[in-house]
Symmetry: C2
Subunit: 464 residues, 2 copies
């Protein structure tokens, strides 16, 4: 790409817009990586704007000067979306950190993109409202990043993903112009759905500066149980049995034995008994406002799981125990990362194909000689496959692995699934896009990108 | 637009693709109008393809020959989307009438677009599954039209609109090429969301030939009540009070006095007592699988409505009475239409602004001297405003009315709302698009249209 280097003149312009312009190695290094594997791309400058006017001026200038702009949230992404692979400018959105308005009457909140997701959740919860999407990194990720990646999390199985809560977005286009994508309404049949086009577009269509989210009434109670299975495939099959019986848990998470073992080591707990014959666990939550109904549901689900070859079911009997179980689940990713170089795949299939997906992962792992740790949002058919380098040679890791992932993704697509459920394509899944899409589909997406960003400065080198 | 007339040569080509090519006046007249006001645009030819290959051949030819193509579902649209305003070809999708596959394991159904919505609902219900979106015309409209308009209906307030159920679409582009828009999964972070771009695009981006819908488990029970209010504005205010108390009814419909009176006359019933001081009704439904919970919810909602100035609440005590009440609600549109020439507006605002919307409609009606009948999906903030010609002169009707509608739409947008909640823009709302959108927003939409249909043959003259 014909991007030129940033000059002192450019820096002088940026400093005329905001004083938050950084070229020191500390800031450049901080913005050189995210939570994706072991990748580093150092930007030439980091800017932290705090108003839409500042963003607009910066974009207009960069568009005219053909300077690549990579927007960055909290840097918790798992597909390399925030990496400035062509250098240029990182637009670090951390100072867009205000919740602007809670409209309690309409169950809506307007927020800037740099607000931490959990803080937003707690803010609305204090007012009796609920914003469900809860990625594992919710304690540190930004809501703007969640919107850009269309994030999910455990609650998605009952409450949907980010796209189901975004009503309207204020966005700065590549040329500095500002638009809203929709209206603050629950139903909208007015023109094309630009809002849903922007959700999950990974910062390639514009810079998100405000987000209007719909909220739902807070839910009062939940019951959480951990169910150990002697067969991992049977655990996957159980997921569908629960849905076929007519129940929709508020979370239905799968963890292979190793996922739980590594997570327990990582958080330094021995609180879960793990007999040698247990291959996997399901973490199952039901929630609602009526405890009697919840007890009935939990009882019915217990009966269903008892139809399979399981160990002793653990019912969380306190808030602390629930926190402990959720913490173990949420830390699996970090635990694997701390253990070895790894690659994380984010496969998703129609829910009932989950047992086949798991056996396919294991078959391909064996064929290509890599170790895989599987866990994830089984209720949505969304299985995270962490591929661990462990004892593989660099050559095996760098060449054989790509073939293995290709083979896995082809199988996923054959099952009616696709290559990312909630992490996005970004940089690291880009080489596999032609497995999920035909050249024609990719061409249409590229042309849509071109409508919003004809010069091609916005997060270049991502998705396509 | 530089569209040429269809020639005998064109007809010969079309007949080589399918025998279902019609140029007789009966078929042309049948396809000359939909349920929008009193509009007639006679196409030059009507074709009824039944395979994606036939659609592909027809589109390729029309694209090369610059022949406008207007796709048509059941012709129940309320914004003129199916009208061939430049003549040319109507692609009548009625022979795409097969439900192709019910995937019970994954709660998914794959259908052709020409299936009647209610038939689809009944088909999946027989298998214990539920497809909620239920426009008033569900007994005659096609699912493909519902997808094209992003239709809603009473159940949207709890279960969402069509866009919340569409997973994947097979579509023929203007040049005859065929794509799928997504994958058959519940979560998808793989590239741009083409599926949501196509939902609600009113046949301007491609011809829908297959639709994959997600389903949910069937719901066993419901309770329905009709609540009469002495103040219509108070009825609107009650809607929000119910949500603020934490309840989400499965339907929350508003009907002005005249709406109910006209509907009762139309269906020839006197089954509802209507004391002279009643200005409006709310029709409230709760649903679920546990009757005890439903009774509690109905009781709590009854307590809430009793805090307002209401008449005697009618609880439907039989399936037949429920059917009767729903029939009265569904027939309001037809009843108004049978009474007078009218225009139907489909305003939507954030729910809590509903009382202000209603009083604004009445103020503007008075100012411009027209009679308005209001009803609709109050739980979503979606109010249908039927403007009745009644005693207005043709001049008042043709000139003053447009000004009145403009004023209304400006107020709607000021309240955070927009100009169509579920009927689409089509032909008749097109003159008001600049109230809902800036020139820049419209330009982006036009350019997206251009990506899919560079020659501009697909449903030309709609939306923009």
């Amino acid at each position: 790409m014909p991007f030129r280097k940033i000059t002192q003149e450019d820096i002088t312009f940026f400093k005329s817009v905001t004083t938050y312009v950084f070229t020191d190695s500390e800031q450049l290094n901080r913005c050189a990586s995210d939570e994706t594997e072991d990748l580093h791309y150092t930007p030439e400058v980091v800017i932290q704007p705090s108003t839409v006017e500042e963003v607009s001026k910066i974009m207009k200038y960069c568009n005219e000067q053909t300077i690549p702009v990579t927007p960055r949230g909290a840097g918790t992404g798992l597909s390399g979306g925030a990496l400035a692979i062509f250098g240029g400018l990182v637009l670090d959105m951390k100072r867009f950190n205000k919740i602007l308005q809670l409209d309690k009457r309409n169950f809506q909140v307007t927020t800037e993109p740099g607000v931490i997701t959990q803080e937003l959740q707690e803010y609305v919860k204090a007012e009796g409202l609920f914003y469900p999407p809860d990625p594992a990194s919710k304690g540190s990720c930004f809501i703007g990043g969640n919107v850009s990646e269309n994030s999910g999390g455990p609650k998605a199985v009952k409450y949907g993903v980010v796209k189901d809560y975004v009503l309207n977005i204020e966005m700065v286009l590549s040329n500095g112009e500002v638009i809203w994508t929709g209206a603050n309404v629950l139903k909208n049949a007015t023109g094309y759905n630009l809002t849903q086009l922007v959700v999950g577009s990974e910062g390639t269509l514009g810079i998100i500066t405000k987000i209007v989210l719909r909220l739902i009434p807070a839910v009062k109670h939940d019951i959480l149980m951990l169910v150990p299975f002697r067969s991992a495939e049977e655990a996957c099959a159980t997921v569908n049995a629960i849905f076929l019986a007519g129940y929709t848990p508020s979370a239905l998470e799968f963890m292979e034995r190793d996922a739980l073992v590594w997570s327990m080591q990582y958080v330094q707990t021995t609180s879960i008994q793990l007999p040698g014959d247990i291959e996997a666990h399901l973490l199952i939550e039901v929630d609602g406002n009526d405890m009697d109904v919840l007890y009935k549901e939990a009882e019915a689900i217990t009966e269903i799981v008892q139809g399979f070859d399981i160990g002793e079911v653990l019912f969380a009997d306190s808030h602390e125990q629930k926190q402990m179980l959720w913490n173990l689940r949420r830390k699996v990713g970090e635990a694997v990362k701390s253990n070895s170089v790894y690659k994380e795949e984010d496969t998703v299939v129609p829910r009932a194909e989950l047992p086949e997906l798991l056996s396919t992962v294991k078959r391909i792992s064996k064929k290509y000689g890599f170790q895989s740790i599987c866990y994830g949002h089984a209720g949505d058919g969304n299985l995270h496959v962490n591929i661990v380098k462990a004892g593989m040679s660099d050559e095996e890791w760098n060449t054989g692995l790509t073939e293995g992932i290709k083979e896995l993704f082809k199988e996923v697509v054959r099952m009616g699934g696709t290559i990312s459920g909630e992490h996005g394509i970004g940089l690291v899944q880009k080489p596999y896009m032609d497995i999920a899409f035909s050249p024609l589909q990719i061409q249409l997406m590229r042309q849509i990108k071109n409508v919003f960003d004809p010069v091609g400065i916005l997060n270049p080198g991502k998705i396509f």
